[in-house]
Every structure is written in C-alpha cells, then in structure tokens.
C-alpha cells in the first residue's frame, strides 16, 4: 500500500484551504507561522493543534495554538464541527415542535433552555402563564443550574488532575436525574416546559425528592468546598490563570459566571426578571479577580443561591392549574384529549399548526442559563412557524473570550482555562 497516496487523498482541497486560512489568521505582526524551521532544531516555536476530539475540550472544539516553548503566543479557535443548523430547523418547525431541539443544545441544563424558548414564544404570542407554572419552572431552572455547575465542577477538577471528584459530583447529578425523571418523565432531555405552562404538575414524589435534595445538598457542597478551597494544588493551578479584566470581559462580550467572576454583576434574573424571580431573594455572586479561581467561587456560590431560591419557591408554591386554559394557545390536558371531541381537535390543531403569533411581531427574550445570557429572538410572519429564530447562546460568546484569555498562558493551563469557561459546543455551534 502506498502511503503517500492515502495522504494525497485525505488532504483534499477543502481541508487545505480551511487550514491555510486558519494559519493565515494566526499570523500577524507579532507572530508568524513557520511550519518547518531549519534554524530551530528543537522546535521551540511550533503550532500545536489541540482537538477537535481532545477529551479536555468539552466537545468538538479545535484550538490552534502558536507556541513559543511552553507559552502560547496566540490562540485561534476553530468551531463548526458540530454545526447542526438548529436555527434553520426552527424556521421549518412549529414552536412546540422545536422545543426538544433546545434540550439538545445545552444538553447539560435542558430545563433552562426549554424555559428560554417558552418564555420567548409566550412573550411574542401574548400567552398568560399560571402562577404555579412559573414557580415550577423556577424550581426546574435552578435544579438545571445546579446540575450544569456540578458537571462543570467535576470536569474542571478532573482537568486539574483529580479524577475521583468527577465521580462524586456525578453521584449528586444522579439524584438530580432521578428528580427530573419524576418531574417530566425523562432523565436527561426533559422537555417539560410547554408554551403556556408546563407539561404536568409536580407529583408528591417529586416534591419530596426535591425537598430531600435541598436539605442534603448543602452538606455535600460544604464537603466540596472543604476539599478544594484549601487544596494547594487546585489553588495554585487556578489562581491568576486565565485572567480577564472587567473592561475586557465587557468588551469581548463574556457572559454568565465568566463575566461575573471578572467583576460585573450582570445577571438576567436581576437585570430583567422573568418568571417570578422578582419575588424571591437571591444574591448575584461576583468576584473581582477574573481568574479561574474566581470563576470557581462564583459558580460554587451560585449553587448555594440556587438552593436558596428553590427553598423559597417550595414555600411559595401556589395551588392552581399548571397550563393556560386557552386551547388556542396551549395543549389541552390528556384527559380532555381522550374524553372529548373538542379536546382532540385542539390537540390536533396545536400539533399541526401550533400557536400563531401576530404577523410582523418581533421579540427578544433572554433567560439566565447556567452559562450566561441565553436569548431567543423571534420574528413572526403570522404562521405557526417562526420566520426567523435567532439563538443568542452564552457558550459562543464565552468561547470568544477564551480566545483572548489564552494568549500569554502556558500550554499546561489551557485545559484548566477551557474547563473554567465551561463551554458546551452544542450551544456554541448551534
């Protein structure tokens, strides 16, 4: 078998052009990319390709690093390996049909994504949501935030070198999966929020499990703190690593914990409250350092705040319906569908045509996902399909900040910095 022939075939035009453009982008007045340099026999200057399938890149993320010894002179990020065109899909589906796709974008916190889409559609179509549904959504969102932050904690600490910690955070996530199983009937991709409310009410089982979790989790969190806060290895690997100043963070559009760890308390729950966030007390954790350790503290404190919010929601949980009673705006309950003709017709109409916002209406609604501002822009042409649906995803913006943060860091810290930013490629690549 002729080996050169295979490489000839593999290096087709498409890859070569893409590659050359990327290397061209690396070059500027400070750096030049020299592929094989005879005067540098030890290759202290080199281009390192990390990913796209590296386990530390949290998905299919490719980093092209221009190195000088161990230091990164310049970093470029290549995304697009996962591009599924969900915005295009959304424009060819009804609003309700698109909901399961949102689960699969930020698959670490499906509930927040469901709520983000639902609130945007409710805003454009003028749908009233019952009080109880708002509180159930808030409980779901905060559980999703804890679930997402736990996975971040596990993987970030694993990136820093400790593997068993990952298993402990997953033990806690397992409890959350069980809760979601009881809330919505699914463990992972829940799709529980519906336009006009939620799919079904919380069962007594689910409520009991949530109460248990809320009572037990703070102790676990304390143990996590106890293990990491005074751990010299963890401390030294994260302190003053990947520093992002407040001005830079705002300028580069960082969002969520990445922005808050850099010193700006921008939180949609506080900036433009949705659901019933204006009726519960919580703090927006903020740090000034802007390094990886600050991001760690911010997320840990956010988990505390989430528990606090869930407790208040459980206290305030009002009685009543969980979905709006208007058959033109939301699915009827299954009882109605099975036992009345009107119910069945409405169910069919909702599935076939769906909810139709007024023609020419435009809206933007954002929620605070675990990773930051998650916004949906919808433009309607009066049919059941959105004319344009744009997703403003936090990971996309945080990854752009990552490109800046990597400059001047050492190669070994790359992995920890990626972990600290907590990107999910399903969301960045859309």
């Amino acid at each position: 078998m002729d080996k050169t022939k295979i490489t000839d075939q593999l290096d087709s035009k498409f890859f070569e052009e893409h590659q050359n453009k990327l290397y061209q982008a690396l070059e500027d007045k400070h750096t030049t990319v020299e592929m094989l340099d005879d005067e540098d026999p030890l290759s202290t200057k080199m281009v390192l390709n990390m990913g796209p399938q590296h386990p530390a890149t949290h998905g299919v993320l490719r980093l092209i690093l221009q190195l000088n010894g161990e230091l990164i002179e310049k970093a470029k990020i290549d995304i697009g390996y996962l591009h599924r065109g969900v915005e295009k899909i959304a424009e060819n589906k009804t609003y309700q049909e698109f909901m399961p796709y949102t689960d699969r974008m930020d698959y670490l916190s499906p509930y927040s994504n469901n709520v983000a889409l639902c609130t945007a559609v409710e805003k454009i179509a003028n749908v009233e949501v019952p009080e109880r549904a708002h509180y159930i959504r808030m409980i779901g969102c905060e559980l999703a935030r804890i679930s997402s932050h736990l996975l971040w904690l596990g993987t970030m600490v694993m990136d820093a070198g400790a593997v068993s910690f990952f298993i402990w955070t997953f033990r806690e996530r397992e409890k959350l999966y069980d809760i979601f199983d009881h809330i919505g009937g699914h463990r992972f991709t829940i799709s529980h929020a519906r336009i006009g409310g939620v799919a079904n009410d919380l069962t007594d089982d689910a409520l009991g499990m949530i109460k248990n979790f809320v009572n037990e989790f703070p102790q676990e969190l304390k143990d996590f703190h106890g293990l990491l806060d005074r751990n010299k290895i963890f401390f030294d690997r994260n302190r003053e690593v990947g520093v992002l100043s407040t001005e830079d963070a705002l300028d580069i559009g960082a969002t969520g914990p990445t922005l808050r760890a850099s010193g700006y308390a921008y939180d949609i729950r506080d900036f433009a409250p949705y659901a019933r966030y204006d009726e519960v007390d919580f703090e927006v954790p903020t740090r000034l350092e802007g390094d990886n350790l600050a991001r760690y503290y911010v997320r840990m404190e956010e988990m505390h705040e989430s528990i606090r919010i869930i407790r208040q929601c459980l206290d305030k949980l009002p009685k009543g319906p969980v979905r709006t009673d208007n058959a033109k705006q939301a699915y009827p309950s299954k009882d109605e569908v099975y036992y009345s003709m009107e119910g069945m017709i409405h169910d069919f109409m909702m599935t076939d045509t769906g909810i139709c916002p007024p023609e020419g209406a435009e809206t933007y609604h954002a929620v605070e996902g675990p990773k930051g501002e998650l916004g949906y822009y919808i433009q309607s042409d009066g049919t059941g399909h959105p004319w344009r649906l744009k997703i403003n995803s936090p990971s996309f913006k945080n990854l752009q900040a990552l490109e800046d943060m990597l400059d001047g860091e050492s190669v070994a810290d790359t992995v920890v910095i990626i972990g600290g930013v907590d990107p999910v490629m399903g969301e960045a690549d859309k």
Binding site: F14, E17, K21, L22, D251, G253
Partner: protein, 170 residues
C-alpha cells in the same frame, strides 16, 4: 402606534434623531422591545456614539434576517445593552440583495468579531475592515449561505467534498 418609551430610551431616540437626522429612519416597538432602524452608511459612527455617549457598552448579539422577496432583502440587527440604564435596544439596518456590505464595528466592541463572522457565514453579508474575516461554521470554500431562505433544508447535494473514508478501496 403610540410609542411607550422609558425616559432613558426616549433620551436615546432624541439624541440619535438630533445627531444623525439623515440616517435615522424609524423607531418602533414590538412586544415591548424597541427597534431603531437607521441607514447603513454611518453604522460605525452611530454605534460609537451609542457606546461612548449613551453608555451602550455591552454588545449582546449581532444577527442577520433574510426578508426574502422584500425590497432590501437583508437586515442586520445589533442587540445593545446599556448596563447603567438597564435598557436593551435593537439597532437595525437593511441591505440590498446584490452585494450586501456593511462596515465592521469590531473597533467599537471587540465581541463583534465572531458575531459578524457568523452573519457572513450564514447570510453572505460582508463586513469591511474586519480584522479576521473568515467563515466560522462552514468550510472556507463553501459557496453557499445556509440561512438564506432559498437554501434547501436537506443541503445542496455534493456541495462539500468529503474525505474518502475507505482509502484502500478507491
């Protein structure tokens, strides 16, 4: 429709009409959000005025809209946030179907870099003076723009040259 603008947004609109009277086209509201449409020529000046004088320091998003079969086919929307006044403002420009070109605002907000690349990649709208203008999702030699309305949902057959996965067999 009667506009219900908050004091700070009213101030913004007044200042913009005053300062850029030639470029200012309309202001309208839809489901509580405020949209301001301006001419595309002076977008850099308008944006830097908004940032430096009216405190819209955070650029949340830039995205394109295909107004298929309408006059001025493309629309680019800037989602601006004033963190001090707690206001969100949408700035819009419309571009023609033939050679849609706009000036880049990367000098004003660094975050515009990837967002403009995404608009280019999905709609084919070019941005002048962009420091690193490449496609972001699609490969560099891909000739189509997927978010345009005429792009088929199943993709263009044979548009991407895929690598041979079984090199032994030809």
């Amino acid at each position: 429709m009667e506009l219900e603008l908050s004091d700070t947004l009213q101030h913004t609109v007044d200042k913009l009409t005053e300062e850029f009277s030639d470029d200012f086209i309309e202001v309208y509201q839809s489901t509580g959000d405020t949209f301001i449409r301006v001419e595309p020529q002076n977008i850099v000046d308008i944006c830097s005025y908004l940032k430096n004088k009216l405190h819209y320091i955070y650029l949340s998003d830039i995205f394109g809209i295909d107004r298929f079969a309408s006059e001025n086919r493309f629309e680019v929307v800037y989602n601006l946030v004033s963190l001090r006044n707690r206001e969100v403002l949408f700035l819009k420009v419309q571009l023609p179907e033939e050679e849609p070109v706009l000036d880049s605002v990367t000098d004003i907000w660094k975050s515009a870099s990837w967002m403009e690349r995404e608009v280019y990649d999905m709609f084919g709208i070019k941005f002048n003076n962009h420091p690193d203008f490449r496609r972001i999702y699609m490969p560099e030699d891909y000739d189509f723009y997927p978010m345009r309305k005429e792009f088929p949902l199943l993709g263009v057959p044979g548009s991407i040259e895929l690598p041979n996965t079984t090199p032994d067999t030809e």
